[in-house]
């Protein structure tokens, strides 16, 4: 059974990726998970400089989901390279770095610095964080902005470039297409859905940033639909995510058209989820007599076959 997948010129040993913002810098989980057993990990978002993020409270739970507005707290790209990357290398992790910027130049500079570092496998461009005011999602909500960031980073790196797209647009597939045209090797989707929770007793928002991004099983069907739409539109690989909490969920994304999947929120409540997911995908392939996981990708059968099925 072959679980490996290809993202640009990068081969992952399996399609399971720890999602950015949900796995620290990876080193935090080294005692709990064999980092080398994952297809890849994606670091927390990194700017040129350190950022402190938003005040607490930063998260609130919702039915089958949670809002977060962390505000991209991070140590900056250079400290990441000096303090985190050596341990990640030593542990055999395949490291994708989530690249942030408040300006086009910052995306380029962070990408350039990471391209010279040893042990970075790919760059995920964060043009979709809903919780910061400057940069980021401003690029990700504009087709020209998306194209410009990807195109500019393309000029300074040979690493696979994977823009992470926001679902907070009318037509996410058009953003996938703009990414592909600008030279992206793959796209990640979806980031969180902008959302709000209010304490009716105090009439105060439940997180300090007032609004935050919704993740978790609550968003999964929307994310699956968006992956499916992008699969119809672009030919580059899709890293699908949004509420995956079981092997069946991961398989749903693969069948919808994702080449690999990212898992975030589920890792919070079950940091040991990775082995369960991997086993479940393996069992499924065996049961369905599929030799390679890539043979599942985009195989959703939407043909209408049966009138009875339609009318029921």
């Amino acid at each position: 059974m072959d679980l490996s997948v290809r993202i640009g010129n990068l081969t992952l040993k399996n399609p399971l990726i720890a999602a950015s913002g949900c796995f620290g810098y990876g080193v935090e989980y080294a005692d709990v998970v064999d980092l080398s057993s994952l297809g890849a990990i994606v670091s927390k978002g990194l700017f040129l400089e350190a950022r402190e993020g938003h005040p607490a409270p930063r998260i609130v739970e919702t039915p089958a989901g949670m809002l977060n507005a962390i505000g991209l707290q991070g140590i900056g790209v250079r400290r990441f390279i000096d303090e985190k990357l050596p341990e990640l290398r030593a542990r055999g992790a395949t490291v994708m770095v989530n690249v942030c910027g408040t300006t086009l130049d910052e995306y380029v500079e962070v990408s350039r610095i990471l391209s010279d570092a040893e042990g970075v496998a790919a760059l995920e461009l964060n043009i979709s964080c809903p919780n910061i005011k400057e940069g980021g999602i401003q690029f990700g909500c504009s087709l020209n902005g998306t194209f410009d960031v990807v195109n500019a980073v393309r000029k300074v790196t040979t690493l696979p470039i994977i823009p992470k797209l926001t679902p907070n647009v009318t037509d996410v597939a058009s953003f996938a297409r703009a990414s592909e045209e600008a030279g992206a090797d793959a796209v990640s989707l979806v980031n969180t859905f902008l959302a709000m929770v209010i304490d009716v007793e105090t009439r105060r928002p439940k997180i300090s940033n007032v609004v935050g991004g919704l993740s978790g099983p609550a968003i999964r069907p929307i994310a699956v639909r968006m992956v499916y739409e992008c699969r119809q539109t672009v030919s580059i690989p899709i890293l699908g995510m949004g509420g995956i909490a079981s092997a069946r969920d991961a398989l749903e994304f693969l069948i919808a058209g994702a080449t690999a999947v990212q898992v975030g929120t589920a890792n919070f409540s079950d940091p040991f989820i990775w082995a369960t997911l991997l086993d479940g995908i393996g069992d499924y392939l065996q049961r369905h007599n599929v030799a390679r996981v890539v043979d599942l990708v985009g195989t959703v059968d939407t043909r209408t076959k049966d009138k009875e099925w339609i009318s029921s």
């Binding site: 949900c22 989980y29 993020g53 607490a56 978790g216 099983p217 890792n267």
Partner: protein
């Protein structure tokens, strides 16, 4: 290294209509836990609630031979998760991950230990009091609650030779008012040359007041903070608390891995 156990509920003892002590069969966690460490508990199966909740390890349970057999948590019914935990029946299972976080630094004689607890903030002091007692440290527990009926486990602490200073907000037991008032008086009366380590756990307002009091009398103070926590492992950056570093600049620090026990004088209280 944290251990995840689908722990069997071996007891659930209500202390009041809100408070209870939940006993979990988690010998490996119990054997590894140090005073001040916590566990992340999933109150129900499925996605609502979605996340685990942090609880200080309250007691270590031992079998007839004295080997660690489980642990208890002291919980107060506040939200969805704690309501589910309050209703747990013997034999049910709850996922319990731990031990997590940095424990208290336990002092040695002749330093005295003064523990300051507010409400459910009593939780980390049962195991701390045992560790202090084993070292022969003279200990005092300043313990505040809303009412006398919510002062729990007093005999447990008495049996460990812990002096009790009790306060209630309604005056129904101990001194009327907040727990920091008698703490302040005792510190004022104490010779600066006789060493005292303060340990505090409770609502943040109480922790801030305790921290100010500690600074006022030049006493070291370890606080166990409780922030809204997503994962307990440093992954989500939810549970941050602003702290001053050695150069005086303020950073948001993850209380799950840097804490939950933190030096009070470095925290920037609201």
């Amino acid at each position: 290294m944290p251990i995840d156990v689908a722990a069997v509920v071996i007891g659930n003892r209500p202390l009041s209509s809100d408070y209870h002590v939940l006993a979990l069969a988690a010998p490996a966690i119990a054997a590894a836990a140090a005073p001040g460490q916590f566990v992340m508990v999933k109150a129900g199966a499925g996605f609502d609630p979605l996340l685990r909740r942090p609880f200080s390890v309250f007691e270590i349970l031992r079998d007839a031979a004295g080997a660690p057999a489980g642990l208890t948590i002291l919980s107060k019914r506040i939200g969805v998760s704690t309501a589910l935990l309050y209703d747990k029946a013997q034999g049910q299972r709850v996922d319990c991950l731990g031990p997590l976080g940095r424990p208290f630094t336990v002092v040695d004689p002749p330093t005295e230990a003064w523990m300051v607890a507010g409400g459910v903030g009593l939780a980390p002091f049962a195991t701390l009091a045992q560790a202090l007692h084993a070292r022969g440290v003279k200990s005092t527990l300043f313990y505040g609650a809303r009412r006398g009926a919510e002062l729990f486990y007093l005999d447990f602490f008495r049996a460990l030779d812990v002096e009790l200073v009790l306060t209630t907000e309604d005056g129904s037991a101990g001194e009327l008012g907040r727990v920091v008032a008698p703490l302040d008086r005792r510190l004022a009366a104490r010779a600066p040359t006789s060493a005292v380590m303060l340990y505090a756990c409770g609502p943040e307002g109480m922790l801030a007041a305790t921290a100010r009091t500690a600074v006022k009398y030049g006493r070291p103070c370890q606080v166990s903070v409780e922030r809204i926590m997503g994962c307990g492992l440093g992954g989500c950056y939810s549970c941050v608390i602003p702290m001053r570093d050695e150069h005086g600049s303020v950073h948001n620090v993850r209380s799950c891995i840097a804490g939950p026990v933190l030096p009070a004088d470095r925290i920037v209280w609201d």
